[in-house]
Every structure is written in C-alpha cells, then in structure tokens.
C-alpha cells in the first residue's frame, strides 16, 4: 500500500473506523514484529500488540500523515523494547529460532536453507553493538529516514549517520570474512 492510500487509512483510523485500525495493523504489524524480533525481543508478538494498542488508543495525540504515523509507531516500539529490556535486566537476547522458522513453509530443503540463512543473519546482527543494530534495523526494516531514526532513538541525525556508517563498515567486514552463502 502506498503512502497516499495509507494517509487516508490513518485519517479514518483517527476518526475511529474499525476497518482502518485493522488495515493499519495488517500493513504495519509484520514490520514492527520484525523489528522487535531483530532486536531480540523476548515476546515480539505480544510486544507488537502492545505497541499497536498504545498507538490506537493515543491516536488523538497524533497528527500527521502515513510517514509520520510510521515513525511514531516505531518510536512507541523502541520505547516498549527499551522497557522490556529494562524489565529483563540483561543484554538483549535473540528471539527463539523456532519463531522465525515458523515463517517459512514448503520444501524441507528450502526450510533448512532458510533456517541456516536466518540463523546466520541473526548471528551477524547480534555481533553488532546494540545502538548500531538498532539504527540499521530502523533504516533497513522500518524504512525510516535518518531524521526519523534520530527522532525515534533520541539522538542527533549526525550521531545516527555515524552509527549507521560504523555499523555498515562492521557488517561489511563480517560478511566479507564469512562470504555470502550461495
């Protein structure tokens, strides 16, 4: 769904239309859940519901278009994730692999390859410092701009650019060292 159409859906959701809530959830929940999973959330699905519930309940405070709503949604997700990490009181752990494996269906060989690829992606991401991983996930998965990411994580755009550059440089070294799976 393009942003123009999503603008209308956001406006309808602000007016309280049930179909708009559902459409927003169907459109954006996979990305939010993926972001939370990539950051090692313990219960990414539950946290996704919490994020959307908070967003829908506070839509009265939101004003803006679809891009703004997306950025706002990930701000809530970032804060919920921070709260969850604080509750757990330890370094972010990776999501259980079976959660990700469940996403792939079909041929057994393909499933095996996919799970290997997933595990590799997860392992490389986990090797990044948390702030670099966070910035890269928001840029790659949430498709946010540097300024939007800066607003989400509460840093300056310059700091976000530095983090993404360092993160990419580190990823580059790791991927070159490991080589890409064929």
């Amino acid at each position: 769904m393009d942003d123009g159409t999503l603008d209308d859906v956001v406006a309808a959701a602000r007016a309280g239309a049930s179909w708009a809530f559902e459409r927003l959830y169907v459109e954006l929940a996979p990305t939010v859940a993926g972001y939370l999973r990539s950051q090692g959330a313990a219960e990414p699905d539950d946290l996704t519901s919490e994020v959307f519930l908070a967003a829908f309940r506070n839509l009265g405070r939101f004003s803006g278009d679809a891009a703004g709503f997306r950025s706002w949604l990930f701000t809530i997700a970032h804060r919920r994730l921070t709260d969850e990490r604080r509750r757990r009181g330890r370094r972010p752990a990776t999501a259980p692999l079976e959660d990700v494996e469940g996403l792939v269906a079909g041929d057994v060989e393909l499933e095996a390859l996919a799970s290997i690829g997933t595990a590799r992606v997860q392992r490389i991401l986990d090797a990044l410092p948390a702030d670099q991983r966070e910035v890269l996930a928001l840029r790659i998965l949430a498709d946010l701009t540097v300024d939007q990411v800066a607003a989400v994580v509460g840093k300056s755009p310059g700091a976000v650019k530095a983090l993404q550059r360092r993160g990419l440089a580190r990823l580059r070294r790791m991927t070159e060292r490991e080589g890409m799976p064929s």
Partner: protein
Amino acid sequence: VNGSQRYFDPTRTPGAPAGDDQDEMRTHRMLDERTVEAVLAGRSLPEGREELHDLAAFCADVRATFDGAPAPAPSDELAAFIAAGTAAEPTPLTRRTSRMRAQTLRRVVVTKLATAGLLAKAGMAVAATATVVGGVGAAGALPTPAQDAFDRAVGNEARADLPEEAGFGQDVSTDARDGGVDGGEISDEARARAEERRDDDGGNGEVDATEAGSERGLENARERTADTPARVPDETPVGRPAEGENRAPETTPNGQEIPAGPPAAGDEGDLDAAGTPPEGTPGGQPEGTPAGPPDGVNEGEQPDEAPPSGTPGGPPSGTPNYQSHP
C-alpha cells in the same frame, strides 16, 4: 645504523612494521551517503562499488528474514479494540491535567480554610450550609415541614402556581431548545393574547403590572392604581417573570400593540430561512475524514462499518489476515 636502531630500547615493546594494517579499514573506501542509502534501501549500487555486493545482499537478507512474515495474531485486548472501532480515548495528558486541576483546587481551598480567621470560617460554613439547603430546597427534596418553610421563605408557592401566561413563555422556550421555533405561530399567538388582555381590561389602557403572572400581584396593582393613579404600587409582584413572557407585546394606553423587538423571522416564514441550521444537519463526520475507504481498496463500503468483504488486497470479511497461532 639507522635512527630506529639507534634509539631502540630493549625494555619497551618494539613498534610494528609499517603497513601491517592492510586487512583493516584502510583497504575499504569510505561509504559516501549515496552509497549508504543505496545499500540500505536495496537499490542498485553506484558505479564502481561492486565490492559492496555482499553487504547489499546481507541487507536484503535482513529484510527478507524479518519483514516477510504475515501480521502476528493480535492480543485479545487489541482484537477487541480493533473490532469495536472506537474513537481514540482521551489522552493521558488530558486526564492528568484534569486531575492536576482538581488537586490544585483542593489545595487552594484547604489553604484558604487553614489561613482564614474564626469568623471567616463560620461565615464560610453558613454560606456552604445555605448553598446546600437552598439547592435541596429548590429541588423540593427537603422533609415536608422544612420544605413548607422553605417554600414560604422563597415564594415557591407562587412559582409553583404559574399562571397561564407563563405557559406561553415556556412553550416558546421549549420550542427554541428543540430547534422548532415557528416565528409566525409565536407572533399570532402573542397577538391573540394581547387582544384577549385588552378585552379583559375593558380597553381602558390599564398597564398590566403583573407580567409575572401572579394573580395576587395583579389584584393588588389594580386596587392601588384605582386608589392612587399616579403612585407606583408598593407591593412588588411576588412571582418571578416566567421564561419567555417578555416576548409578549406590550400595549399602549390606548390599546395599540408595541412590538417588543425586531420583527420575528417567523412573520415571513420559517426561521430556517433566516439562517438557523435545519434540524439534523450532519455534524458527526470529522473534517478531513474520507467519506469512504480509499479508492480501489474498499469501494462502496462505509468506513465506520465493518471492513469490506472480498476486496482486493484486504482481509476477507470477518477474517483478518493475521498469522494464526497453533
């Protein structure tokens, strides 16, 4: 013997030979912003940056791994919220603000009570009691003897027996609240009532001193007017002017009607024609809210109702496209 050997100190760690950082960052060209954006967004790499192929492929893997799944099943609370489709709740900020206002008011009252003198406290207590008793008495909720005393004191008896004239004002008031005021009807009725009043007075031009509608006041006024025509009646009418009564036209001593104000719009037709919004004007739809779901997505469906069924790209009716948990 060169310089480095001359100053070599065997007790210190020898320096590494130059160029031993070949495997580190110096071998990589810096990532400019355009390249970074291309890598992150999964676009084709700029010319001459083919060495970033692995990095770009990894970013694509990240996207495929974490962003390719269907929406997870919502929690019960979220599902109920989505199904209800209620408007956004009042913001926590609003609730907090109202709570803060209540706390501030309470603090001010407590502070004033604490700093007031004994006499002021007694005065406040009397005022508070009078307010409470007055409110309850006006509502007719006092015990019978107390209510009788209250009614005598404030003249509720007269108010309870409002004369017929008061009914006219109340009708007008009710019509105005209902949005169904008919100016023509009011005008005709007022004119008829004025004529009736002139007939009752015998056309002698006596001014009705009891617009409030108290028969007692009317009789007193008539008596005193007859005794001392130039004197203002001593007894003020007890009854309060009924709501809307002052709309009735006054009459001159010779019985001519004096219009109470500008001509009512109803004299020429319905008030709606004079700019009053007609009853049932739609006002519930917020400004800017689309009249329906986006084009091509939910055509023909009402936005505030159930999600469209069978529309392309949308979930089937009543079955959201959530990932189901085992």
